[in-house]
Symmetry: C2
């Protein structure tokens, strides 16, 4: 898609009428958005979400021994107590290296069209294979993960239960499948916005409703729509005006690095906005800590819109209604190491 | 206490009679040990363990924003899923620095006479103030902790509830008190050894009982006794024979660094042995990964005893019965940062 065409599509959003009452606002909102279901989705036959598999996934998600150093687990950067992020500009990994992009939340990530800022993983299973191998993150190898898992009787038993009938249950693919199954349970239903969508007029304040209307009127909805209010399509950062290099570092060309397709430079998956009020800092660069500033940057760079302070406040108020019920996760007890478990290596 | 006197005391343990039956073994064991209670102990008037205070302590314990970098929390090195340790030789902290000693478990630590390997903190409250300030660990300052906590409405509310009636509830002392209250709940009752102590003959196997008898006969009990099978007195590492520098690094003089008292060189608090089977690696140096080896080193260096393989196996089997029910901890939801919350600094 060319940039002029994208701009035309985004601009058309301005044609949306202002809402007259709650019923009309809800009707417009339901054309653009969808509520998070109260129960986690199923992944289908390819990954049956049995209790044993989800429990195994939780163990793997929280186990720092999945990293070469023994220091980092999935939870280190995708903290279930912090809206699924680490609250850092970009994550700190093996050897105190700084990662290239801000850690996205795994909450509701099952609803995204693809994973990572550039969508390079089609699903959570493929995503889970990434950080464990990345040199700047967990710096491990699939082989060492398998050796580690096979060395612990607790994991041998847990994989056997999670993947019954498989001769060789401990594989890197099953490791990723179990993590995917656990992560798919990490959804945040019943936000005040979703309550409003489902008919509760009083779930949002007048300012929040005005913010929702503005969000749609201004055209934010062109990219941020659907169940995750984003996360389901790719757009250039800087449709109308490219933000400064501080916010959009020149070295990171986004989806272009995946597709090598002309025109996809600085293209990223539209950020899912569920729980955005609790997942600062913002953008793939993690350079913006204030949600008001993030909204202003977006309006300006993507839509060429100059919002006044009150409008920004209202949109930020609306975004606050996207914070859902956070998953309650009991920290799993992790299997005891065995005599042949590889020792952590920090070098 | 002089080393010859200590050796004489330890040697006297050899005079203990072998046990004839379960009742006699239990009687001897009850003279030396005590079961972990099923409910956490109270801390007394100085720190009332209200639900609000314990819950606040859990938040603080799990919050990586208590470190300067935003990377480490108490949980990083005292993992509730790993028997309260990190499974590293010594912990990794700020800037990928390696700590000087192996991280001890906080499970049942409330029962220790004092905290840290050298007992330099009289209780868990004072202990909690250490790592948060240590340059090689969380590298923070009390001032920055307080500014951070006061910047988040969620913490302002939680401290208000946890310390009702206090005008200025957010203090470094209250921060430590809340963590102490939470940690005091982290006990591991109902181990098979405790079941045996309380009368269940069948809770331990014949080999485990033989190991218990050997543990007392050989003299291990001289240092490792009481409710935590250790943790209640100080002893030199190397009473009879000093182990190699690999296991006992020359640079770490233990309690001497605290007391500057002649004769306290290489003196450490006897390690509490609760859950020892799941908390490798061993010793303050973290240099020994195999519990069999640790038992052999201890017998040799502390008691001058050469145990045969079967005896070591039996003592290790007994130590396995000290693994209690691990606390089930729901990962707390952490307060949202505010506009004035200090940003994490990794440098």
């Amino acid at each position: 898609m060319t940039r002029p065409l994208i701009a035309a599509i985004l601009a058309s959003a301005f044609a949306l009428p202002a809402f007259a009452d709650d019923a009309e606002l809800r009707t417009l909102a339901k054309e653009n958005f969808e509520a998070i279901p109260m129960q986690p989705p199923q992944l289908g036959d390819s990954n049956m979400m049995t209790r044993d598999r989800v429990d195994l996934g939780a163990m793997l998600f929280f186990d720092p021994r999945m990293s070469k150093s023994g220091v980092f687990s999935c939870q280190s950067c995708h903290n279930v107590g912090l809206g699924g992020v680490d609250g850092l500009e970009t994550s700190i990994g093996h050897g105190w290296q700084k990662g290239p992009r801000n850690a996205p939340t795994m909450l509701n990530a099952v609803f995204n069209v693809a994973q990572f800022w550039d969508g390079r993983a089609p699903d959570l299973k493929e995503q889970a294979k990434g950080p464990v191998q990345a040199g700047v993150e967990m710096n491990n190898t699939p082989d060492n993960v398998i050796v580690t898992l096979k060395s612990m009787p607790g994991y041998v038993e847990a994989f056997g239960k999670a993947f019954p009938g498989e001769n060789d249950a401990i594989t890197f693919d099953n490791f990723a499948k179990a993590i995917e199954a656990f992560e798919a349970t990490l959804i945040t239903p019943n936000s005040r916005f979703d309550q409003f969508l489902m008919g509760a007029d009083g779930a949002m304040t007048a300012d929040e409703k005005a913010g929702l209307a503005l969000f749609m009127d201004t055209g934010c909805t062109a990219c941020h729509n659907g169940i995750n209010i984003g996360g389901n399509d790719y757009w250039p950062f800087g449709v109308v005006e490219t933000p400064g290099a501080e916010i959009l570092p020149e070295g990171d060309k986004g989806r272009f690095q995946v597709t090598a397709t002309a025109g996809e430079e600085y293209v990223f998956r539209a950020a899912p906005l569920r729980n955005v009020a609790i997942t600062a800092p913002y953008f793939h660069s993690g350079k913006v800590w204030d949600l008001r500033e993030a909204v202003a940057v977006m309006a300006n760079s993507q839509l060429g819109a100059e919002l006044d302070d009150k409008q920004i406040d209202q949109i930020v108020a609306f975004l606050g209604t996207l914070t859902g019920e956070q998953p309650k996760v009991e920290h799993p007890l992790l299997p005891v190491r065995g005599p042949d478990t590889p020792k952590p290596e920090q070098m």
